[in-house]
């Protein structure tokens, strides 16, 4: 009894709150019992935290018989780890302090296995994220702050390009999500025409403050964001931020939205010379019987201490017909983006505006520039738009029994003659070639200093010696997929072909001749054979051919234009070791040669081993 009484007295005394302004000489400050260890009462506790993530080991061994001179005589290389930002262990840690709020962070750990016990890298990938939602009778409002949130406003303002799903799936992406079986990844690509992607697909990374409201009265919704995209990043204290938002009104299955983005930074440390861009658009979708009109139209400008800030147009309009009308789904698309419109956070590339770059000298770090240095006149895959270009795109999908075919055709031209360069890729060996240069993203490499490395790819630049014109671009892309049984086991065959031409002016039809500055042809054939329920044998054949004409720079020895040919054959095994655990072994033979430029050739093999475990 005595114990209980004294404990009670103690508890009461412990819970006496003490004025923190002891300056005021509160008499409770002198209560001797208010001394000792604190806190004297139990603090709030959260019982559960969720941890998920993945482990991914990637080892790569390259044996080159023939390689670029810049690599010297060292022809065999071991790489452990993928390109930047790809950890071996990713832990996503999250908690819910209340029913409507949450926090999360992600911890990555990476070791290059250099033999040193101290050679580790740790960090955050997406940073520290805080979220909160609040539901009312007027709608549901949510707020996101902190680290990187994946978000989209509209294609032109804040989104990433999703394209037409015409790509090779032989090489695995670091972000490929776990599937039920290793075969599901390929079969889903066959059956759905697309891969299952993680949450970032089609979205852009954003850091700052996002407030959005959905299920508002009259089917309205809105979003507002203030902060930084990866192009506004960096540690400078001068403001470098963007503001974006949208108001959307839905009409059953249709909608109209007004979207805007404005990015501003300063080129000087005194914050007097402003640099940035604005873009205001309307996005819409109207369906009528078997037809659908959708797209986005807007206007934008770019301003800098040296730019006038002139406004230009941006439009992307699609007319889609269902197969009930045309026997197969057909899309007719027109796009036109003024050279004055720039937004690296949107789905189109900048090919017109050279960044005003007085202050940002030295090696670029992620997010250190507000706009990218332009890609010159880029030879891009169908669906990838650039500014200073307009064009028509036709797309159709056909399926006959187990045969699936998608065909895309585009004819486009530049609006203004700006660049005397064309950039293009090498699809057959694109990823393997990018692994030649670890770990940075160098520009101007290769035997002739015209190769630039980007994330998981390279592009090459060819100089035009002709007078600068508004060039024309034509592309034909074909994707074919089929499924059948071979010796009683499932097999998938995918073919991907592309035929492109770049010429001095617009042409409705491609110029597959020396009339084109550049012709690019590529063929990629893939087989996936289900050897056993948890084992897939994969094969890949790649071939690309690039031919330039005599209005491009010629080799000083041969006096001939680029004439490039690349081969690739790869074979691999996908093994499902356990639930959510896959082992992927691939071996590639590659060969490339430019028959005009004598130094531009390589030949060798690459073996990769990937172990990926989701939890």
């Amino acid at each position: 009894m005595r114990n209980k009484k004294s404990t009670f007295v103690f508890l009461v005394l412990c819970l006496v709150s003490i004025n923190s302004k002891a300056q005021l000489n509160d008499s409770s400050a002198f209560v001797p019992k208010n001394s000792g260890l604190y806190p004297k009462k139990m603090e709030a506790i959260m019982n559960t935290i969720s941890v998920s993530g993945y482990y991914r080991f990637l080892g790569c061994y390259t044996q080159m018989k023939d390689q670029y001179p810049e690599f010297g005589d060292v022809k065999n290389r071991v790489f452990l780890g993928d390109d930047s930002n790809i950890p071996q262990l990713m832990l996503t840690i999250g908690g819910r302090p209340s029913k409507t709020t949450s926090f999360s962070t992600d911890l990555y750990l990476w070791t290059p296995m250099s033999g040193s016990q101290t050679d580790y890298v740790k960090g955050l990938n997406l940073g520290v994220n805080l979220t909160g939602t609040h539901s009312t009778k007027y709608g549901t409002f949510s707020v996101r702050t902190g680290g990187i949130h994946w978000y989209t406003i509209s294609p032109f303002t804040f989104a990433s390009n999703t394209g037409y799903n015409r790509f090779s799936v032989y090489e695995r992406n670091p972000w490929d999500p776990a599937m039920k079986t290793v075969y599901d990844r390929y079969h889903k690509f066959y059956s759905d025409g697309a891969l299952t992607q993680d949450t970032r697909w089609g979205q852009q990374a954003f850091q700052g403050f996002i407030l959005d409201g959905v299920r508002l009265p009259k089917q309205f919704s809105f979003a507002y964001m203030y902060g930084k995209s990866q192009f506004n990043g960096g540690a400078l204290p001068t403001p470098n931020a963007l503001m974006a938002g949208k108001i959307k009104k839905e009409f059953k299955n249709n909608f109209v939205s007004i979207n805007g983005i404005s990015s501003k930074t300063y080129t000087d440390s005194l914050a007097r010379l402003a640099l940035g861009y604005n873009l205001v658009t309307t996005e819409f979708k109207f369906a009528w019987k078997e037809m659908q009109l959708l797209g986005e139209v807007g206007t934008g400008n770019y301003f800098s201490p040296t730019a006038t800030g002139k406004w230009g147009e941006a439009m992307d309009i699609k007319l889609q017909f269902s197969k009930e009308w045309t026997h197969f789904p057909l899309e007719v698309r027109y796009f036109q983006i003024s050279p004055n419109v720039i937004n690296n956070n949107g789905v189109f590339w900048n090919s017109s505006i050279q960044e005003y770059n007085d202050n940002f000298t030295g090696e670029a770090t992620p997010g250190s520039q507000t706009s990218l240095i332009p890609f010159a006149s880029s030879l891009v895959s169908i669906g990838q738009m650039t500014n200073n270009r307009r064009g028509v795109i036709l797309n159709m999908d056909m399926a006959v029994k187990k045969h699936k075919l998608t065909i895309g055709y585009s004819a486009a031209s530049e609006l203004v003659a700006l660049s005397d360069k064309i950039t293009y890729g090498h699809p057959a060996n694109n990823l393997a070639l990018s692994r030649f240069w670890r770990w940075g993203f160098p520009a101007g490499v290769g035997p002739y200093g015209n190769v630039n490395k980007i994330y998981r790819g390279v592009y090459e630049t060819v100089q035009i010696t002709d007078s600068i014109t508004a060039k024309g671009f034509n592309s034909l892309e074909i994707s074919y997929k089929t499924e059948f049984k071979l010796f009683g086991k499932d097999m998938l065959v995918f073919y991907l072909g592309g035929m492109h031409s770049v010429q001095s002016k617009f042409s409705p039809l491609p110029k597959y001749s020396k009339a084109a500055y550049l012709q690019s042809y590529n063929n990629q054939l893939e087989f996936y054979y289900l050897l056993f329920p948890k084992v897939i044998l994969s094969n890949y054949f790649g071939y690309d051919r690039i031919i330039a004409n005599n209005q491009t720079v010629l080799d000083i020895v041969s006096n001939k234009a680029k004439n490039q040919e690349g081969f690739s054959y790869a074979i691999g095994l996908d093994l499902q070791l356990a639930k959510n655990t896959g082992l992927y072994i691939k071996h590639r033979w590659m060969k490339y040669q430019d028959y005009s430029f004598s130094l531009d050739h390589y030949k060798g093999t690459e073996t990769t081993v990937e172990l990926k475990i989701y939890f």
Binding site: N3, S6, T7, V9, F10, L11, C14, I18, S20, K21, A22, Q23, S27, A29, F30, P32, K33, S35, G36, L37, Y38, P39, K40, M42, A44, I45, M46, N47, S84, I93, P97, T101, F103, T105, Y108, K122, L124, G127, V128, N129, L130, H134, V143, T145, G147, A205, Q207, F209, Y226, K228, G233, G234, L236, P237, T238, P239, N240, A241, A271, G367
Partner: protein, 563 residues
């Protein structure tokens, strides 16, 4: 002995360890701040950036591990992500706190590692001497961030060391005897000239009954000899008696409380014996139960050589430079710490015990710059707290009429007047509104004088602080916030210049004249009482610099979680 019941008073702690039988639980907080400021000054300035943006997001994730029912280990990591740091850049990992605590044989509570500790206002206490007015509305958010960052809670100091406590209960004469003891490390030895410095002490508390409590307190800062190549070891001892006697009658409560003691501080090679002095603080308290009226009247006498660095260390060292717009104008003059900085920059605050007299700003607090433990102060003080029945109006005021015990550089003594008051109007209670509507006004006034026929002895300094804060609940959990903070100071002071031993070796004349005004407004949404989002805009002007006034506007977004 049979009549003596040994009871551990920490049953609450024991029970908390085994809550829901979970071995690992989580505590901590998360915060995201984005800010955007623009700055300008009266003088031509082509050097200072006009605009500044910044921010961060952080998580403090603490793992509370209970290996058994009577032990708890807490390790808390801080993961901080700078605004603008993408893909892992701008990320820092830190250990925010680490401790183990537990109960031995249901009889002794201990904690090792980080400890939050205090004893009494004159021995070991974290006084809040520089934020004189009650924070409300926007300032309350900022002060919460400051307090969280520096572990300021209940006037404790966050230290690294160990502490124990235990208690005995008795059936007669004395209800309880409680013992608190601690030892912390202030600095390690550098194996050269810096000795290992520790801070230890404790108290014994006799609770005779609910009417009388006595505490015998002792603390000591001391160097461990032979831990470095230095024989001159420092020691600062403080011993005191604290007490609270209460007479609880039917309608009123009368009481006496206070603390008195002695201090000494010296270096072992100091032949003069160092500094020794005493302090007295006694106050009579009265409380009317019906009206809620509380009055206290007291007397304090803190000797000129009274040194107790566990109670005299300041939260802010005023010798440090600002982190935000540290310099401005074309001459790049230093921008001194302002009240605005005190509320906005948690990095200005420290939780270290400083063995020495810390710098202070006489414009901010010249009367009691080290709290009520300020040395060389003698005089009367009084206080009043009153609220009406509906708790719709609360009023609180404290007045100090003090003087110096010993003149500084002269036999003339400074005299001080200080008043702090807060009045809070709770309109919800006045008008029976369901939503919270609160207006808080805080006022502080300080006056320092030293009169003399000699001009160099004359000191006259006045400071006024006024803070108005409004919190209006617009719709459920959504609040409109408005704040007006005004600070004015005018006059002169002679600031002592001290050597490393704390002795005054000179005086620097200081002329102060300026005003600071901060107007702030915004919205705050409470997801829960401890999780909220706030968007705040504020405008600040400051004319304290004799070279150039300056102003800046700032926009903030706060998202704060505690869990």
């Amino acid at each position: 002995m049979k009549n003596i019941l040994t009871v551990i008073i920490t049953l609450i702690a024991v029970s908390s360890f085994s809550q829901e039988d979970k071995k690992v639980q989580y505590v901590g907080g998360a915060r995201s701040i984005i800010s955007n400021a623009d700055f300008s000054s009266d003088q031509e300035d082509t050097v200072t950036s006009r605009k500044n943006s910044g921010g961060y997001a952080l998580i403090d994730l603490g793992f509370k591990i209970n290996p058994n029912a009577s032990t708890e280990i807490l390790g808390m990591v801080r993961i901080k992500n700078a605004f603008g740091g993408f893909w892992g850049s701008g990320v820092t990992f830190d250990v925010r706190q680490l401790y183990v605590k537990g109960v031995v044989k249901n009889a002794l509570r201990y904690q090792i590692g980080n400890i939050d500790y205090k004893l009494t206002p004159y021995t070991f206490y974290n006084h809040n001497a520089d934020l004189l007015v009650q924070s409300s509305s926007v300032l309350k958010i900022k002060e919460e961030v400051l307090n969280y960052e520096s572990f300021y809670k209940n006037n404790t100091w966050r230290q690294q060391g160990a502490a124990i406590d235990f208690a005995f209960q008795f059936p007669k004469v004395v209800d309880e005897i409680k013992v608190n003891a601690f030892i912390t490390r202030l600095n390690p030895s550098n194996l050269g000239n810096i000795l290992e410095r520790l801070y230890g002490g404790g108290n014994v508390i006799f609770t005779q009954s609910k009417y009388l409590t006595l505490g015998f307190n002792h603390v000591s800062i001391f160097d461990l000899k032979n831990t470095a190549l230095n024989d001159n070891a420092y020691r600062n001892n403080v011993s005191s008696v604290s007490y609270k006697a209460t007479l609880d009658l039917k309608k009123n409560i009368f009481g006496i409380s206070g603390e008195s003691g002695i201090s000494s501080s010296a270096l072992s090679l100091d032949t003069s014996g160092g500094l020794k002095d005493y302090f007295i603080n006694i106050q009579a308290n009265f409380q009317n139960k019906k009206s809620g009226l509380k009055v206290h009247l007291g007397y304090m006498d803190n000797g000129a050589d009274f040194r107790s660095f566990g109670a005299q260390s300041k939260r802010v060292d005023f010798n440090q430079l600002n982190n935000f717009y540290e310099r401005y104008t074309n001459d790049q003059i230093i921008r001194p710490l302002s009240n605005y900085d005190l509320y906005n920059d948690p990095t200005l605050y420290s939780n270290s015990i400083t063995t020495g007299i810390m710098a202070y700003n006489p414009a901010v607090n010249n009367v009691l710059p080290y709290g009520i433990a300020t040395f060389n102060r003698r005089g009367l003080f009084a206080g009043l707290t009153v609220s009406n029945k509906q708790k719709s109006v609360k009023f609180d005021a404290n007045y100090y009429r003090l003087g110096e015990v010993r003149g500084q550089g002269t036999i003339k003594l400074r005299s001080f007047n200080s008043i702090n008051s807060t009045v809070e109007f709770n309109f919800s209670n006045i008008f029976n509104w369901k939503k919270e509507q609160k207006l808080t006004a805080g006022f502080a006034f300080q006056d320092t004088k030293r009169t003399s026929d000699l001009a160099f002895e004359q000191i006259a300094l006045k400071s006024t602080t006024l803070n108005l804060g409004l919190e209006m609940e617009l719709v459920e959990d959504l609040y409109l916030l408005a704040n007006s903070y005004y600070f004015k100071s005018k006059g002169n002071e002679l600031m002592p210049v001290r050597n490393s031993e704390g002795e005054i070796i000179n005086f620097t004349p200081l002329n102060i004249s300026g005003e600071e005004l901060c107007l702030a407004g915004g919205l705050k949404y409470n997801f829960t009482p401890s999780i909220y989002l706030a968007a705040i805009y504020e405008s600040n002007t400051n004319s304290f610099s004799s070279v150039s006034s300056y102003r800046y506007n700032q926009f903030y977004i706060y998202y704060i979680m505690k869990f």
